[in-house]
């Protein structure tokens, strides 16, 4: 059932993303060809265009993520989706996974598009050398670097899931009222982000305080760079995973128990 739901979700989002990706890659290829014939733009304009592309695609990903959940589950289309022979888990997960996959795909396509546009200006071997140099300067073993790459990847994926789930939870919370649902969702978003900021500040203060008691400075000096990063990454991973679970459970409860389509 999850697979079938994801199939239709892919189609619904792909309808927007595939033409968009196509247009983006086409424009960057044309741009690159023009570059070969001497129609060069200044580096400043190139950077500006790249930034606009990145922000633009991020906004489209955000809007579509919101729209697919809101329109498909919480308005009239919800009468169809919510009466399919499946539970709220599959509905939420199908939307979550597909939105996340399209989000990462967008990041890849934008990167490729920017690289294509810049290709005539960039010496690929210097990038290669630069990356090698960077790694040679990191004072970690290759084993440690592999672990760090894995952890950063996990943080990226979990962070993205937590963000999307937070948006779902905010929208689902609007089922508590009968009027001004969009406004209530926005209010929930402001409320949740504020509370999260406060919690994170408290955690940070507590962390520093507890270290102060046992002599913060000597504690810091006792850490190697690697173990310092490890503490930070594991705290982040656990905290983000807890947020994911929390937002998921709120969304699930609202869809299962408090659904009230109008």
């Amino acid at each position: 059932m999850l697979g079938k739901l994801m199939k239709y979700e892919f189609l619904a989002m792909g309808r927007v993303f595939i033409p968009l990706f196509g247009a983006l890659l086409l424009v960057s290829i044309v741009n690159s060809i023009l570059g070969h014939f001497g129609f060069r733009v200044s580096a400043g304009i190139g950077i500006a265009v790249s930034v606009i592309l990145m922000v633009g695609i991020a906004v489209i990903v955000l809007i579509l993520t919101l729209q697919r959940f809101w329109t498909n589950l919480l308005t009239n289309e919800g009468y169809l989706m919510m009466t399919l022979p499946t539970g709220p888990d599959n509905l939420i997960l199908s939307k979550l996974f597909v939105a996340t996959i399209w989000g990462f795909a967008s990041a890849v396509v934008v990167t490729v598009a920017i690289l294509i546009m810049a290709i005539s200006d960039i010496d690929l071997s210097s990038i290669h050398n630069g990356i090698r140099y960077m790694f040679s300067q990191i004072p970690f073993t290759s084993h440690q670097i592999t672990l760090l790459i894995f952890q950063f990847g996990l943080m990226l994926v979990l962070g993205s899931l937590a963000n999307t789930l937070m948006l779902y939870a905010c929208m689902a919370l609007s089922m508590l009222v009968n009027k001004y649902r969009a406004l209530v969702s926005f209010g929930a978003f402001i409320g949740i982000t504020t509370v999260l900021q406060i919690i994170m500040t408290i955690i940070m203060v507590l962390a520093i305080r507890s270290h102060l008691i046992m002599d913060f400075e000597s504690y810091i000096h006792s850490l190697t760079a690697f173990s310092g990063i490890q503490i930070y990454t594991w705290i982040t991973i656990v905290f983000t995973a807890i947020l994911c679970a929390l937002f998921y459970l709120v969304t699930r409860y609202m869809l299962k128990r408090r659904l009230n389509l109008q």
Binding site: R15, E77, G78, M82, L84, G87, R257
Partner: protein, 231 residues
């Protein structure tokens, strides 16, 4: 076993009581009219049976089960709202139903679409409201479900289409299945009903077979409805 069984079903929205202790049983093979004025709780009752709403207390059992994935697989529900994804074509909706409902009869649906002159290639956004309602009804009636819950199936279409829709309902439900039709247009559907349930302010005012009602009160369902709900 009863296909639908409601037991002391209550639902309130805040302080407003929508259903106040509904007890009812619907046996297989019946066409039941769920009748009542606006705001009497018809839609609320149907939504609880489809699992779209959770009751405040009491329970609704479909084939002995609480609403969930198993009951949704045997309940075919036509909401009052248009739920079709506007970006899809009619053919997309057919494959969508085929994918999700193992009891969906594709041939039957295609047949009905042909009879009504609706092309499978039509984009749903290009269809009129009435045509969308017909497509939706075809999708719902092409399922070989155990229980059909039809919320105002004839409210938005012209009288000529009403006859076609009612015929579609009668022709397409299988004898072991039950159909619940909620409406306030009683005159139009009276001739197809086996039983009627009158809802008044969230309570059952009358539950009877149509034959008994005519015999006991000496009038049609429509006339009796007007008497019970006289303003």
């Amino acid at each position: 076993m009863a296909i639908l069984n409601c037991n002391e079903l209550r639902k309130s929205y805040g302080s407003k009581v929508a259903l106040n202790g509904i007890n009812l049983t619907i046996e297989p093979g019946r066409i039941v009219g769920l009748l009542g004025p606006n705001g009497s709780g018809k839609t609320t009752l149907i939504k609880i049976c489809t699992g779209l709403l959770t009751p405040t207390s009491g329970q609704a059992l479909i084939n002995g089960m609480s609403p969930g994935p198993e009951t949704k697989a045997i309940v075919s529900f036509l909401p009052e709202a248009t739920y079709l994804n506007s970006w899809m074509k009619v053919s997309h909706m057919l494959s969508f139903f085929k994918d999700f409902y193992s009891d969906f009869n594709l041939d039957k649906a295609q047949d009905m679409l042909r009879n009504l002159g609706i092309s499978e290639k039509d984009a749903l956004r290009s269809l009129s409201k009435g045509t969308k309602e017909k497509v939706q009804l075809i999708l719902v009636m092409a399922r070989e479900a155990k229980l059909y819950l039809l919320d105002e199936p004839i409210g938005g279409v012209d009288p000529a289409a009403r006859d076609y829709i009612l015929n579609t309902i009668i022709k397409n439900y299988n004898p072991d299945a039950s159909v619940v039709i909620s409406t306030h247009l009683i005159y139009d559907i009276e001739q197809v009903l086996d039983d009627v349930i009158f809802l008044k302010n969230g309570e059952i005012a009358l539950s009877s077979s149509v034959d008994d009602l005519r015999e006991n009160h000496g009038m049609s369902v429509d006339a009796y409805f007007r008497e019970v709900f006289r303003c």
